[in-house]
């Protein structure tokens, strides 16, 4: 538990790539596809729901903030230690850390998505390049 997800050099990693239009109507396809990948591992039903929500929130952030991105790329790396998800857009984005985070008891609407991603996944990292898009990498580990 709490070990880093092994790299591709260390263990066999199955990779599933998905590219969806950067439009709201395609987010359901992304979350259901990622759930199908997660179900190939030994995640619990609750953990699969967490992963579904996290990837959907990442796609929703891209749709709402990555202006001009034609599509969203979702890379799933499934290994014995867990699942690494990379969600990339190519828009002029807002750094997720600049999207207002929130506190409990807060009635503001903004920042819920980032808050949920951070709450549901074990590792979350952003790589933002102005005018080149945002890469969000998140990991859900399988408990040993």
């Amino acid at each position: 538990m709490n070990q880093p997800l092994p790299t591709t050099d260390e263990v066999e990693v199955d990779v599933v790539d998905l590219r969806i239009p950067c439009k709201a109507e395609w987010v359901a396809l992304a979350r259901l596809s990622v759930a199908a990948v997660a179900s190939r591992l030994n995640f619990s039903i609750d953990e699969i729901e967490d992963i579904k929500l996290a990837v959907a929130e990442a796609c929703t952030n891209a749709i709402q903030h990555a202006h001009g991105s034609p599509y969203i790329e979702i890379k799933c790396e499934a290994a014995s230690g867990g699942l690494r998800l990379s969600v990339r857009d190519y828009g002029r984005g807002t750094h997720p850390e600049h999207i207002r985070s929130r506190e409990l008891n807060d009635e503001r609407v903004g920042g819920l998505g980032v808050f949920l991603i951070r709450s549901l996944m074990d590792e979350v990292d952003y790589d933002v390049h102005p005018d080149q898009g945002t890469l969000l990498v998140m990991v859900k580990r399988l408990e040993v």
Binding site: R31, I63, N105, E107, L112, L116
Partner: protein, 119 residues
């Protein structure tokens, strides 16, 4: 009054007093939440400020769905109203727990209890 899209069904019905029940079925995400927002907004525009939103048939909700519920609550509160939720699905309830929204919404196990807490 019933609205249906591919993934969400919104059923609005009048209950006792000046309370309305909004029963949602399906998945509430960035694509479907505008339909929910419209349905709640229509009621508020008509002067309905006490709502029970029944999530028992909701299989999935994300931050945009939560945002619609928060937005509705803010609007009815401006008129002295309130929004209570019906939710027993542990996965949906968990999302309200981790976001702290359990402290903002009244969440009940059935419509009767949610309505009684409003009136």
């Amino acid at each position: 009054m019933e609205r249906t899209t591919l993934d969400i069904k919104v059923n609005v019905r009048e209950a006792q007093g000046d309370c309305y029940i909004v029963e949602l079925s399906g998945e509430i995400d960035v694509y479907t939440s505008p339909k929910v927002k419209d349905a709640i907004g229509d009621l508020i525009d008509r002067g309905v400020y006490n709502l029970v939103i029944d999530l028992e048939k909701v299989r999935y909700i994300d931050s945009t769905g939560l945002g619609v519920l928060i937005g509705g609550l803010k609007r009815v509160r401006e008129h002295g109203g309130s929004v209570n939720l019906v939710c027993t699905n542990p996965q949906i309830r968990k999302i309200f727990d981790i976001t702290g929204l359990v402290k903002i919404f009244g969440i009940f196990e059935n419509e009767d209890a949610a309505m009684k807490a409003l009136v």
